[in-house]
């Protein structure tokens, strides 16, 4: 698992120790470039913690560049590699901008909080229900999941594929597990 401290990346990017705010599009684009460069050094499948703990604030433009465009790139049909993201240290101060860009772009992500992980952002009802059930069950096969949900297996498989493409669940063999499952729920 990789850990990326956004405040460190920010300071390297803008070459100034004093800045702790993720503001402006050029800054956001530079931070995202650095994150992608770090990801290129990793193996095929990676889980990366994007850590906001030391970031004072993020504005809408920067959130769009850092978060939305990163997720869009790795949720595309042909992502650079099989990368998953867990967002840590996101507070109320960051949330307004992050929520706005997720809504605008139709994206969802997994937040790590003191009491576990949860998925945030717009998500079809069936996918949200499947994600929450996988989180509760832990590593689970589609057949078992369909039984628990009392749903058609093909529909469950379809929802899981949607969640995997969105980088919200990982496929492990024939089973699935939510991103950040090690943190519990």
């Amino acid at each position: 698992m990789n850990h990326i401290d956004l405040s460190s990346v920010l300071r390297q990017t803008v070459a100034c120790e004093l800045y702790s705010n993720l503001v402006t599009r050029p800054t956001g684009a530079a931070v995202r470039d650095e994150i992608e460069r770090l990801l290129m050094d990793t193996c095929e499948r990676t889980l990366t913690v994007i850590d906001f703990s030391q970031v004072s604030m993020i504005d809408f433009s920067c959130a769009d560049e850092v978060i939305a465009k990163l997720l869009l790139r790795y949720a595309a049909e042909d992502p650079p590699h099989d990368a998953y993201f867990l967002f840590r240290g996101v507070t109320e101060e960051h949330w307004e901008a992050i929520e706005a860009v997720l809504e605008r772009r139709g994206l969802a992500l997994v937040l790590e909080q003191a009491d576990g992980v949860r998925v945030v952002g717009p998500l079809p009802d069936d996918e949200r229900r499947v994600w929450e059930t996988v989180q509760r069950l832990g590593r689970v096969a589609p057949t078992e999941l369909a039984d628990v949900l009392g749903a058609d297996e093909a529909a469950v498989q379809h929802a899981l594929e949607g969640l995997r493409r969105r980088r919200l669940v990982m496929q492990v063999g024939d089973d699935y597990i939510v991103v950040g499952a090690h943190r519990g729920g």
């Binding site: 100034c16 800045y19 705010n21 503001v23 402006t24 504005d59 433009s61 769009d64 307004e96 772009r105």
Partner: protein, 303 residues
Amino acid sequence: MTTVVNVPPSLDDHSFDDVLRQVESVPADANILLDARHVRWASPFGLTALLTFAQTRSEMPTLAVPELEETTSYWARAGFFRHAEALYELHGPYPKRAGGSDSNVLLEITSIAKSEDVHDVVGRIQQKAQLMLRELNLDAKATVGFAMTLSEICQNIVEHAGRGGWVMVQTYRWTKRLGRRVVVIAVADAGVGFRKSLESAPGKERGDRWDDAAALEDAVIRGVSRFRDPGRGQGLAGVRRYLGRWDGKLSVRSGTAKIAIVPNWDDDVPLAEHLPSFPGAQVQVTIPERGSPQPSPKGRTQR
């Protein structure tokens, strides 16, 4: 021949149009003297617009500074003369040094030309904003949104204006309209303006009605940007949401039009057209103190 332009005694976003009306038919390369000797009060909009106005002239204009020492002293503390010295030929006495800071000036007039300037102003405003918003009885939650608002409207200059502009943040008691304190952000530039910026969008189709007002409606109300990227245009939308939450006002002037998101406490018009032309874009954000009005016999005070 020099055209003399009288600057109103109280200079704000409305009265600045009086200045522009007087120069409507004056060529950009004509000599102009702005007579500000009788100015007693200027809002952040007024001060940043004065600097922006000078940028629109091809011949350096002359500015007769206010006669009232209290006013020139305030303008100096607001950082006005520091920038004006490069843009105007200044006539009359004014303090060459600011003479200490002003607690009501949260951010003195600051030049914005590049992304690093936005980092700088956001960093400088954060601590002061927390104290100031507490004084205005606003929730601590308002602080981050305030810095985000400042960041986004300053970025409009960097991303769209094509040249530098200015920002200023100040608090004052607005007796005439509100009877309570407000905090005001003013951002002004003499760049390409909203209409030309949107016209530069690839494949932009112009409807039957396409003018400065239509461009402002597209950008401010519909979140349209010159970029095709659907993630663009979120800044002003976010600013509108923030101001809606704190009963604030947003007004954006560009070219011959001004659009405003008007809260209940104000009686401005939502859309003003056929105003005297002013290049670039000028944005004003006003957030009022929370709580019941507290009328003051002193009127709108600036010290």
